[in-house]
Symmetry: C2
Subunit: 495 residues, 2 copies
């Protein structure tokens, strides 16, 4: 079986159904690939295939993939559904390794036979197929991009605005059953500053499915975390087997839609597949170490933590804050999600109490956990507290709520950087997450500096706790399987 690498790092690409009409997917895809090539992002050769025109955007076209004067690794097929079998057969004869069939009009609208035909041709020639009825692949590292939605829109007054941005290269792989979820997610990731290793929307999954993709991303060096948006999984046993193996090396987070009865009904009308009983998915995910996100925001909040920080060795969360309320809110959410915010008791508490008496911490701070430094907090107090917590054997994870408003945090960006340095000095020996609330310049800068230091930052205490939960759950799974120590030994921060 050919590796799926051909979909993400092909040497040559043929766009079958490349078009001169600007609105058509066959044009959008070809022009984006061409653009990526011009910019040096895409290394692969790109050939437009269209028997009716001589050139597209100044590039000579070929009447058939068979006439392309090079070997073709990847075919992107954007022709009407009825012609797809012919195009596929030609791909087979040409020796094409993978085909992304963008075209719709197959099983999703009841044309099961046509989809069967595509499958059989694929099998006959050994072509791996993504789709049909999909938006395909986006690989910011290699420039492969089949997202055929208009990049810009022209709104009233003639203003041209960005509509479908692409995330920067990064470490998160996203596997999505829904194309629309994928493009919305791309836009969200850009705004949140989350980098992408690769995105793939597999549509009707005539061939390539979740299990195949998990297997592929296990070996993809750029991918540190795998996200999945799924509504239904057919090869459940296979996915559980593969995911169980992958989870030992890379965390998988899944957002399973269709959890409720009406949600499942909605999913069925959407993909013509049964979403199934949610409890079965819950149990299956648990067994193979798939971490479950319960909404879209949580999916990415978890991803951020898992990319930047190691899994935790236990469930004991220390909360450091300059706002009592934020500390309470974080504690509530932690306890609800199965973490613990235990009252500190031993040596850790003693040292902190001493600091409080010495004036290293404010006299009226609370050091029980949450450690509430109060509005008298200074940047130095955060650093002194964190040193104690990084060394403490009573704490497994640390949540830093550094609300920037207090006067003692003179430079919120510097505090975030200094915390990052401190965590690096302690060799990321336990996971640390950061929070600052709001959208002022100070808040945005503090969070940005946290992120740059590999401390995942969040604008809400509760969202950070969801990130912490993912680190805890992943650590728990690895420990259960006897892999935690090995994993932590190999772990290093993303660069």
């Amino acid at each position: 079986m050919t590796s799926l690498g051909v979909f993400f790092s092909p040497r040559t690409i043929a766009v079958i159904g490349a078009s001169r009409e600007p609105e058509k997917p066959g044009h959008v895809i070809f022009s984006i690939l061409l653009e990526n090539k011009k910019e040096g992002l895409l290394q692969a050769g790109v050939y437009p295939v269209n028997p009716f025109v001589d050139e597209i955007l100044g590039i000579k076209t070929y009447p058939s993939v068979k006439s392309v004067p090079e070997e073709v690794d990847l075919a992107i097929i954007v022709v009407p559904a009825s012609i797809v079998p012919k195009a596929m057969r030609e791909c087979g004869e040409k020796g094409v390794k993978g085909a992304i069939v963008i075209s719709a009009g197959f099983s999703e609208v009841g044309n099961y036979e046509l989809e069967e035909e595509v499958k059989e041709i694929a099998k006959e020639f050994g072509i791996r197929v993504v789709g049909p009825n999909c938006i395909g692949v986006l690989s910011p590292h290699t420039g492969v991009d089949t997202i055929f939605l208009p990049t810009h829109k022209v709104i009233e007054g003639g203003k041209r605005i960005l509509s479908t941005p692409r995330p920067k290269p990064g470490y998160v792989a996203l596997i999505s059953q829904s194309g629309a979820f994928g493009t919305a997610a791309m836009d969200y990731m850009v705004g949140e500053g989350i980098g992408l290793s690769a995105f793939i929307s597999y549509g009707n999954k005539a061939d390539v499915d979740e299990a195949d993709l998990l297997e592929y991303f296990l070996t993809d060096e750029r991918t540190r975390v795998i996200l999945m948006y799924v509504e239904s999984i057919e090869r459940g046993r296979k996915v559980v087997d593969v995911a169980g193996k992958v989870s030992l090396r890379k965390p998988i987070v899944a957002l399973k839609a269709g959890r409720t009865k009406e949600g499942a009904r909605a999913a069925a009308s959407h993909t013509a597949a049964l979403a199934g009983v949610d409890e079965i998915y819950e149990a299956a995910f648990r067994r193979c170490g798939i971490i479950r996100a319960y909404d879209m925001e949580e999916l990415f909040d978890m991803a951020k933590a898992l990319v930047m920080q190691p899994p935790s060795k236990g469930e004991r969360l220390a909360v450091v804050t300059d706002g009592g309320g934020a500390g309470v809110m974080a504690t509530d959410m932690a306890e609800i999600l199965g973490l613990r915010v235990p009252e500190l008791k031993g040596e850790t508490r003693e040292v902190l109490e001493k600091y409080r008496r010495n004036g290293i911490l404010p006299r009226f701070s609370s050091v029980a956990n949450p450690i509430d430094l109060t509005g008298s907090a200074t940047s130095d107090m955060y650093l002194e507290t964190l040193k104690v917590l990084m060394k403490s054997d009573e704490v497994d994870l640390i949540l830093v709520l550094a609300l920037h408003q207090v006067p003692g945090i003179e430079d919120p960006a510097k505090l975030a950087r200094d915390i990052g340095k401190l965590v690096r000095d302690y060799e990321f020996s336990k996971p640390v997450l950061g929070v600052d609330t709001g959208w002022s310049e100070a808040a945005i800068l503090e969070r940005k500096e946290f992120d740059l230091s590999s401390i995942p930052s969040y604008p809400m205490p509760e969202r950070a706790v969801k990130g912490a939960k993912a680190l805890y759950e992943y650590g728990k799974y690895l420990r259960l399987k006897g892999f935690l120590e090995e994993y932590l030994n190999k772990w290093s921060p993303a660069t």
Copy 2:
């Protein structure tokens, strides 16, 4: 008893403890009031009281509040705790109506006697007191502002960045037990574009408490929705009585922190008050119509819906989407939160099916609810569908998921405006909420136009559903009390 209006709309203000030292709260408060006065925002006279200097920022000071040459409505007290009783007594002799005691060092650090003394002086002279140990009041409509945190910070490289922004004038009142929660919330509201009618943080609540404030905001014309952040409520019966009355006229949403055992412990160490058993709060809130938010994000997501849209007559939510996945996610969340996304069956379904056959909607759309217009959706299709749903007696609320990426939404901003017009044409006869995901220019513009049309917009389907839940819960309470019809008759959109 003097009305609390004096705290928000005083005719004259004395700042007792006004200071020349830029870092001191007594300076920050006085200088902000002065600035607001110069800008014409603050109409009240402002007098600095300080016996040790002659002038501050060019303004003549007075040695005592008693020497101020005018009647003084409101005193802002920022002197050391031990001198507060003396200052209060002078306020009494001067006939001051209200005092905001910013100073800390009272019951929160065990100085119960000093706080008792303040209470007794207040009672003796009939002064209403906010605080002590609080950040006080922010009223964007009148320019009263005691938030003494630095507005800007100077970071590395000498760059001056905004740190503590103030929300624009608006319709949301925020009552916060925690000052830090309040300032973080201010920053968040600015970024989310949510306007504020008034903010008050009441600290140790020696006098003015939640019940008083709810009563006040009931009559405050600018306030349409009241938000509360609470950790503990002492006068529980009083709050329930007052809230029950207020809820018939204005929705109240509460975020109660300290829900879990450890959260309650954290709250206790923070405010020295018992957070109490969560079930008791839950039941009390339910009885008096207080809508409960379970995290900070939800608090404001609910506020946004309640400011912009009327309460709903029932729990039946219609979801219109161009992304199947987003529709499924919204349906899941709706069902989990007690709303229903029922399969449409009667005339509504018939009309939509007819549209589908006629080509008014896409041939492969799904009209069961969620109404999935698919990637073939156009702006017109949204409008045609909404007309049907606004008229339908099978639907109580409508959620519009208009993911802007699809080609058929040519101008996402215009679509949002057109939906706003349509809803206005139907006289807001049922609540409508909008979603577009992501942070591209297209997404931001679409959401902004929704908001400007009084359609509350959200970047995530699930967050919009939380807004819808608030509209449903509030409508349910009003119906239960026999007030829904009257309320809806009087309701008009915020302008």
